[in-house]
Symmetry: C2
Subunit: 120 residues, 2 copies
């Protein structure tokens, strides 16, 4: 069973749509990187049960992304915010050479702070 | 049946989680502001059928928001982006009085453009 690297990100968006059991095993498999056998022991189900639960969880997460597309939108937003941060840094850099530019530099730094917070 | 004003916004996020019929009637009710009787005629179902379909659609949308909370996160993000826009405008305003500040004003306007696009 090959690990789908996107699943971990989809868990951040849609994890609450899974059953408690699916959430547990998918998280152990993708976030903690445990093996099916290790997860079977922790979750007290068979190895096949773990596999089925992961498969069903993955299917739900991928279906949610196909319907709502939030992970994709989020990645686009991150790119735009990176661009805002780059502009704000350039403003602060250019303003350093200017007289009485301190208030302006503060505004640029505030923009950078907000954009970084939004990217978390 | 009182109209819940939040539903229209939740449709933007989670509309694709509804059945086609629910999507149709909820949209006619909330976005087009039609009456139950008018929707019944369009959708070719009974008034009670319309009412049930809207109720079920609303329940799904509210449940999705309770699980994922994306509309709430989006509203918070809008506030942060408004703050970024205000800072960018203040930079452009202050820079107008400064010599050789045109490149800096351009950067501020670029920030404003990106933030406005993200708010759409």
């Amino acid at each position: 069973m090959a690990k789908n690297l996107e699943i971990s990100m989809l868990m951040d968006f849609y994890g609450e749509m899974l059953t408690d059991k699916q959430k547990e095993v998918v998280s152990l498999y993708y976030n903690e990187d445990l093996s099916l056998a290790e997860i079977a022991q922790i979750a007290q189900i068979t190895r096949q049960g773990v596999r089925d639960s992961i498969k069903r969880g993955e299917a739900t997460l991928l279906d949610m992304e196909e319907r709502l597309g939030l992970a994709k939108k989020f990645r686009q937003m991150e790119e735009e915010l990176s661009h805002i941060i780059a502009c704000a840094r350039e403003i602060a850099f250019q303003a350093e050479e200017m007289p009485r530019s301190q208030p302006l530099i503060e505004q640029a730094k505030e923009i950078e702070r907000i954009a970084e917070r939004l990217m978390e």
